[in-house]
Symmetry: C2
Subunit: 236 residues, 2 copies
Amino acid sequence: MTAEEISEDPSPRIPLSRERVLGSAVAIADADGIGALTMRSLARELGVKPMSLYYYVANKGEILDAIIDMVFAEIDVPSVVGDWKGEMRRRAGAVRQALGRHTWAIGLLESRTAPGPATLRHHDATLGVLRTAGFSVKAAAHAYALLDSYTYGFALQEAALPFSGRDTAASVTDPIVQMFSAGDYPHLMEIATEHVLQPGYDFGDEFEIGLELILDALQRWIPETEDGPKSAAPAG
Amino acid sequence: MTAEEISEDPSPRIPLSRERVLGSAVAIADADGIGALTMRSLARELGVKPMSLYYYVANKGEILDAIIDMVFAEIDVPSVVGDWKGEMRRRAGAVRQALGRHTWAIGLLESRTAPGPATLRHHDATLGVLRTAGFSVKAAAHAYALLDSYTYGFALQEAALPFSGRDTAASVTDPIVQMFSAGDYPHLMEIATEHVLQPGYDFGDEFEIGLELILDALQRWIPETEDGPKSAAPAG
DNA sequence: GAGCTTATCTTACATAGTACGAAAATGCGA
DNA sequence: TCGCATTTTCGTACTATGTAAGATAAGCTC
């Protein structure tokens, strides 16, 4: 009996596959940032040599396109049954959370303009909910641009913040306050001390506030609901 | 007389400087994308050898931080005199245009979390306008998060679109329509044929529509204006 | 000029993506 | 079981990147 027959060696027992390659790519980007995702680090993670990856992907750009689509695949598609507001609220939150788990995806969105099938399915389903809710084609386009701009932009701001979550440690806030206390930036100082640095503050809480404002205003774009006013949709 | 004395040789006559280094960095990123911005391409552009750059910047990361700040420096700071809505409208448009000229800045915002002085001054001035307009500290924070999320997100979507401007050439729209026409994505198909692909369409026009909706709704967060209703600010 | 400061460049190294083609593993018909 | 074709993995090598370490050059002051 040879060694291979006795014990399963730790080598690539599970066969390589496109799914495994892309899954590890996401894992590396999540753990150490998109900059740490190299063909070599990816191969190492999979217990394989770099050039083996090229049997499953044409090049690194294809990996980047694919992992963006994987992020969208994580997001449950909204449903046409149920109230549109609730669905849009749920969807926006899910997008924000997905982009929060994979902040690198936000940066990639700017440079990679080849949407994958999951991304397209997501957009299609979302538009479907709006159309079913009574938005005209134009109004649905306006509404979707507005909702997604807000959601992506919020996720971008969250990613750009030097802190996240509730009650940031003083070790990270102190240098910032120090920077403001020179007297330039009085309004930033005010908002920091009176709002952001208060116990229990979480920037993420701002999301629902803006979202509700948008959803409430969008409601008025739906023409002649049973109990609502007539259309107030913009001319565009 | 030596050659140097007779004619000005095409070599680095204008001395290198931090400003020149950063200016060329922006120019390269604008022209060929942030990926084309390398220490070597930057040196070549300046008629200099790569290591000379390190006399003016500590490393490439410092260049990236600095050119983000240069983008914000391009944006005229809003003024507390004049109506807040007009100022916010003007500012949002200016931010969108600046990010449109330098789309790479959007992607950089996600990864680089060290705001420069122009960026801070911009944020400070914007908050100042909102506070002066009557927004409470909390309401100003909410409003600013909302306005900037929308603006950044819209710029991100514009950058991610495979087309831009009015009346996109059929050569670029045809493959997209082809992709939709298989029958998956019926709502994308609908919105494409009935709205996006109509003559004269420009995604950029959607910006003002969403912006007006937001500004109108924000107005109701200002407590007791002379002629307006009382505060309708959220509890947060 | 000498010597000090400021500015630029040479060389070299580790790490990146990937072209090219060899090698190994696998599956299959006889 | 053998032979062979297909599928999968890998070795080598090339070009490009950021930048450390230190040599060199240019400019200024006495």
